[in-house]
Amino acid sequence: MQLQNEFTVPAPVSEVWKTLLDVQRITPCLPGATVDRVEGDEVAGRVRVKVGPIMVSYAGTARFVTTDETAHRFVLEASGRETRGSGTAAATVEATMQEEGPSTRVTLLTDLDITGKPAQFGRGVMADVAGKLTDQFATCLAGQVGAPAEAAAGPASATRPAVRESTASDGERAAAVPQRVAAPQAADSLDLFSTVALPVAKRFAPVLAGMVLGVAVGALFGGRRRVVIVIPQPPPHRFLQRTGPAI
């Protein structure tokens, strides 16, 4: 499905461009996202999307396919699979930036492919979630663009308590902050679709050792034998389709 999101940052294009490509300044804006490893152009990490009681975690990689500084445009490809489940997510995000007076308008065009249970929630919910998370990200980004670059562990804005940067031992627990998507301060969910949030940078976020994905990626690249378990997809549950009896 195609998703389009836009946001405006009160800063000139060059500033916004630089900030978006600086993982250290972006990462505080992505509660629920963990960067595990950066290898050249590719970032491996995990992302947790939470909507009320429902939570889906993905582990995957993101890669800059195109970076055009003069046109202020980049294209990012990301793919991942559910850490607990059999679904996958793949997204191609094209970000363009346009100067609008003293501000910059960032437009994100996302081509998103979701399989598995989250896919059954339908375009409406996903577009809604994407929209809200983009707004959140934009607000945070605006704060970041103004502030000087900080150490990755520190949250940028004083109004956002407890954005805990994941550490090696913290893993899943660090992402479990209060769940509200609507409140930028307290949310712990990430816009998976706006994966400009995992930009590749010449300077990169600290590598977090011992993470699940690190092991998974290592297994894939290390040539170890993988056991593939095929789980047959259950038919779409009527609860999710909302055309069958409630349970």
Binding site: P53, M55, R242, T243, A246
Partner: protein, 291 residues
């Protein structure tokens, strides 16, 4: 599938329940389980701890407290819809609750659970919004009240923090006794299914005029909504089919419903208008052909 592994605790008091939620990072309240357990079985959520309110004191019952009914949130749908107090004073709530799912669900599911789950396709959030219900929430800092207009924040998200428990609901007595007519119009293709669109109408009529109207919309957005344009148009309007029709034509204004397997957005908006007309006509006691 079976739910992922979880621990369970059954607090005896509300304070214990709040304490248990505060103590465990990834805890979830279990009321009737009619929404939560399917989510667990589908493995869409992985709480480590379930706080079962089945034995918690002070969360069950229906009491008349003057110009409101105080309803404990662990009161089941069946108890709400068969309660004499509710039928007499808050008839819309009884009528709408009777349309929820099927008898098995109504005997286990709770009013509080339905409101806290905040599925916009659920019938009760829209009804609570139409009534202007007040939610009584218990949290680590004590009790606080949240009006329904501020309670439903987003799809499946409410003003409840992870450490909060919705303990009671105060429903204003908008019933026959105070001049209010009501009707809940629910449209579904399959019996006992979720509403494709639903409309909850409360109309206060005096003589030949509609003094006040409240219209709640089910499944027209990521939260329950009020059809404010229709409500404004109905205020002071004559209690006639023509006036109601004109007002109902505004029911979908400002809404952007989702397109999904049950219906496209424009179909939903059309449904909202048609159902609002039916619901308001019935609530106002106006025949479809005239006065």
């Amino acid at each position: 599938m079976i739910p992922p592994q979880f621990d369970c605790v059954r607090p005896r008091t509300v304070d214990e329940a709040v304490g248990a939620l505060a103590e465990h990072d990834n805890a979830k309240v279990l009321a009737g389980g009619q929404s939560l357990l399917p989510i667990l079985r589908l493995r869409l959520a992985y709480p480590d701890m379930l706080v079962d309110l089945g034995r918690t004191a002070g969360m069950w019952g229906i009491r008349d407290v003057g110009d409101e009914l105080l309803i404990g949130t662990m009161t089941t749908h069946y108890q709400v819809m068969t309660s004499e107090l509710v039928r007499r004073h808050c008839g819309l709530l009884a009528e709408a609750t009777a349309t929820v799912a099927d008898p098995q669900v109504r005997h286990r599911g709770t009013l509080g659970g339905s409101l806290s789950h905040a599925d916009p396709a659920g019938d009760l959030p829209a009804v609570a919004l139409a009534f202007g219900t007040t939610m009584v929430v218990a949290g680590p800092a004590g009790r606080r009240t949240v009006p329904a207009s501020e309670f439903f924040e987003d799809y499946l998200q409410t003003a409840l923090e992870p450490t909060d428990v919705l303990v009671q609901v105060r429903v204003p007595k908008l019933g026959a006794g105070s001049g209010w007519g009501y009707h809940y119009e629910k449209f579904q293709r399959v019996a006992q299914a979720w509403a494709i669109v639903g409309v909850a109408a409360l109309v206060r009529r005096s003589g030949g005029r509609i003094e006040e109207a409240r219209v709640g919309l089910t499944n027209m957005g990521s939260t329950p909504l009020r059809a404010t344009a229709t409500e404004a148009a109905l205020t002071g309007a004559s209690a006639s089919a023509a006036a109601v029709e004109d007002a109902a034509a505004l029911a979908a204004d400002g809404t952007s419903p989702a397109s999904d397997l049950s219906g496209q957005a424009d179909y939903r908006q059309h449904l909202a208008r048609v159902l609002t007309r039916s619901a308001v006509l019935a609530a106002a006691g106006v025949g479809a052909t005239g006065m």
